[in-house]
Amino acid sequence: MNQEHTTTENIIDYLHHELGPEADAALLLHLKSCAQCAAMYEEQARLSESLRAFARASERELPQGVVARIWDAVDAQAPQPSVTQRIAAFFRPAIVVPVAAVLVVGAFFGYSATHHASPMITIDAAYYLRDHASINNTMPFGESSVEPTSLRSDESASDQQWVASTGASAVAETR
């Protein structure tokens, strides 16, 4: 890649993140060392941006008031089930069976929880390091969290949830 010039098609694919990871990384390296291809990249980038700007300028959205009135009309036309229909629907097997299963499982685990010690949960040290780095962002000249921990391990990090600073439930409702 470093010896030969790349093609316009490759540049376009690169700009749209369509290249495979290896080809993408190789082209990045090539662009750093080849002025001719870098110039072609700049040209294509400018063109892409012009097209995006044009598309944005041409885009029209419905006013919020119109959108709200449409949804009001949709809601008003939806038929409301009667009380007997709602009761009958509740006792359908598709609902009764899972509800019963949940009750049985809940009763079992409720009993277990009160009669056995809860299991030990191991929290990886990376969680603490990540959170420290994250809350550091507002410090003047703080390290800008380079090398995020999310790139370091297979853990998804989705098991870490922000709960509260003040008024947990109120904040949670707005999120």
């Binding site: 980038a45 995006r52 507002t138 390290e143 790139l151 709960v163």
Partner: protein, 341 residues
């Protein structure tokens, strides 16, 4: 003879002054610091940054290409170390996308605190209260003239940070942080920098076709620590000792694997220390780290290093504590001993 020596010294001094670059600007250094913090909101640039973090035994290094479009679009593309090569991090305001090419996934994290102007101003005030800012002679970074600002701790007299800001744009081009013993702990500098008028927005698009995974999300932290402590749901503790100049800055409550954890942050404006605490059947794992045994008073403890950041963990009075900060082990142990006296 003394006269001749004095004359030689004068000639040498004159030569040195003549060779030195242009001197610092007329505006106060604190004004320049404030402008430097705000600079990325008004500037677009592309470049390459090298970050070195020096631990007590080893050094961690990162090199990444950066594309920043004012005010808040940034892409960092890692070139080194090899294990991150090709990975990138795209920040779009308060949302960060960590693109893990090897695992074909994108970790999406939300952090409302990233652009919290009130917190930024408060923290700058803490820095001003604890550090004296002064100019050193101008220098050059990547061929661009830079103003050099030294931040010296008012209590210890130790220079803690050296910042080099672009004389034309105020962008920070180089930053060095020093430990309490004077050793360099972190160096971050532009290896290349080019200011641009416009960067195509497509550069900041998240690649398609990758699995999206929720990362941790965070709301605005509160500076009212008593309120935060009350939300923890257990009888929390705080340190009775902190190094001079340190003050409570922020706090929040997070849920890690179902374990409610209180996080309090203390800072002197540059250096920071976090105290995490939770209750119940939880343990800390060091699977990806090299942990060393130590003691906090009579309690078993472990510590590990991550670049210039140190982590110290121990259990006491039915609570599990973890201190994390850019401080020495001795300082962390002293803080730890004061948490439950």
């Amino acid at each position: 003879m003394p006269k001749r020596a004095n004359g030689a010294a004068l000639v040498l001094a004159a030569a040195l002054i003549g060779a030195a670059p242009v001197h610092a600007p007329a505006v106060p250094p604190t004004v320049l610091l404030h402008e430097a913090i705000a600079a990325p909101k008004n500037l677009s640039y592309v470049g390459e940054i090298q970050v070195l973090r020096f631990g007590s035994q080893k050094t961690a290094a990162d090199v990444y290409r950066i594309e920043h479009r004012a005010p808040d679009l940034t892409r960092r593309w890692f070139l080194a170390p090899q294990s991150y090569y090709g990975d990138s991090v795209i920040s779009r305001g308060e949302t960060t996308y960590s693109i893990d090419v090897k695992r074909n996934k994108v970790v999406v994290a939300q952090d409302d605190a990233i652009d919290d102007q009130v917190a930024e101003d408060d923290n700058f005030a803490v820095l001003n209260a604890n550090y004296n800012a002064s100019f050193a002679p101008d220098d050059f970074v990547e061929g661009r003239r830079v103003h050099v600002i030294l931040l010296t701790n008012k209590y210890t007299g130790q220079m803690t940070m050296r910042i080099k800001t672009d004389a034309k744009t105020n962008l920070v081009l180089e930053k060095e942080i020093y430990a309490a013993n004077g050793a360099l702990s972190t160096q971050e500098r532009f290896e290349q920098i080019r200011y641009v008028q416009q960067i195509p927005s497509g550069i900041f698009d998240v690649p398609k076709g990758m699995q999206h995974v929720d990362g941790p999300s965070r709301g605005l932290p509160s500076s009212d620590l008593q309120h935060v402590i009350a939300a923890a749901g257990f009888k929390a503790q705080g340190p009775k000792y902190l190094p001079e100049g340190f003050t409570p800055v922020e706090g929040d409550v997070i849920d890690i694997k179902g374990v409610r954890t209180l996080h309090l942050l203390y800072s002197d404006g540059i250096r920071t220390v976090s105290l995490f605490q939770n209750q119940g059947s939880s343990d800390i794992g060091f699977e990806n780290f090299k942990a060393t045994d130590t003691k906090v008073e009579k309690h078993e403890a472990k510590y590990t290093e991550d670049g210039s950041t140190l982590l110290l963990a121990w259990s006491e009075s039915g609570l599990h504590f973890t201190l994390v900060g850019e401080l020495s082990l001795a300082e962390l142990e002293k803080i730890a001993a004061s948490v439950v006296p």
